[in-house]
Symmetry: C2
Subunit: 192 residues, 2 copies
Amino acid sequence: METRRRGRPPQYDRDAALAALTNAFWDQGLAATSLDALAAAAGMNRPSLYAAFGDKQAMYLDVLERFGEQACANVRLAMAAGDTPRTAVTALLRGGVKAYLAGPNGPRGCLAVCTATSEAVMTPAVREALQLVLRDLDAAVAERLAELGSPEPTLQGQLVAAVLHSLAVRARAGAGEAELLAMADAAAAQLA
Amino acid sequence: METRRRGRPPQYDRDAALAALTNAFWDQGLAATSLDALAAAAGMNRPSLYAAFGDKQAMYLDVLERFGEQACANVRLAMAAGDTPRTAVTALLRGGVKAYLAGPNGPRGCLAVCTATSEAVMTPAVREALQLVLRDLDAAVAERLAELGSPEPTLQGQLVAAVLHSLAVRARAGAGEAELLAMADAAAAQLA
DNA sequence: TGATTTCTGTACCGTCTCGCACTAAATTGA
DNA sequence: TCAATTTAGTGCGAGACGGTACAGAAATCA
């Protein structure tokens, strides 16, 4: 098992702290979330936060990258449930709606699309990280569509991901579940 | 002509100042744009900015509302060029790509989708204003599609607007023009 | 010509924010 | 048992930030 290290054992759990940081950034984005808010959310003092996760932007980039990985895993999981392009895309978009409507302070959509985009013009590291997340999401959708025999999975994957982007923005802007599900079903009917 | 008012005449031009505030908010969003940056952009002192436009959030909401109006006018103008749903949607999406790639500090997409979304969870006024902008955009697209004989213009309008949202986010994240135009054309081919 | 009105510009204020210095605490190892 | 190591916690400082008070400037009006 895990070898005990010298020195004072940390009181924080890294995964739990990252989850807490994710939640804080998901609600307010990078600029609007203070270090005090991040520290409070993680249950850590600021010096400990710095030692564990780096500066504020480094924390956000860490959160964004992990979020992208998790989002791709969710895409694969959701689309695995469908055995045709249509059923796979329906499952993906409907699952997206559910996820985007969740949040302790109200529907918060997708952390990447809904918060990283704002920082993208003036913060190259965020722009590049967001670009990677978007491309990985496109690729995950395209890959499953190819498996299911879609004739043009790359462009198709992009269009399906486009609907996900919009569903996320609309949910975060306050659109209702029925409206979002109707849009998801219409998109699946037309795109797959 | 315009009656001269008593007192010291203002040195700023309201429309020019609003345009400057729009540019500043478009690059960085609400939280990341400081008052000093806004004042510098508008060529005004902070007290004058406050007197003319209210507090920072009021400025942003003003900018967002006007942006939404202008965006709807742009949608109508772009779609008027098409005489079928397909040509109208193609013109709209291609025009959107051009607009989203512009910006003095790099591609900045759509001010509403790309910056207001981040603030939407924790700032009800921004969420509601964004919701209105999104709905007006949907309606503008749907209206023209109805004119051109689209069988289901409301849902269709939403899907086309969804592609616009995604194009904006992708442009701001650094996607290239060729890729965005290919996606725009594929979307027009499938949705109209 | 002075009063009144409206705007500009400087200074100021309180709070927030980021980041770090330093001490104390909690562990392992010699 | 004490040194070494690693982490937690408090306090600090400089600057940023949002916003306002107030004096001066520039106009109109009586």
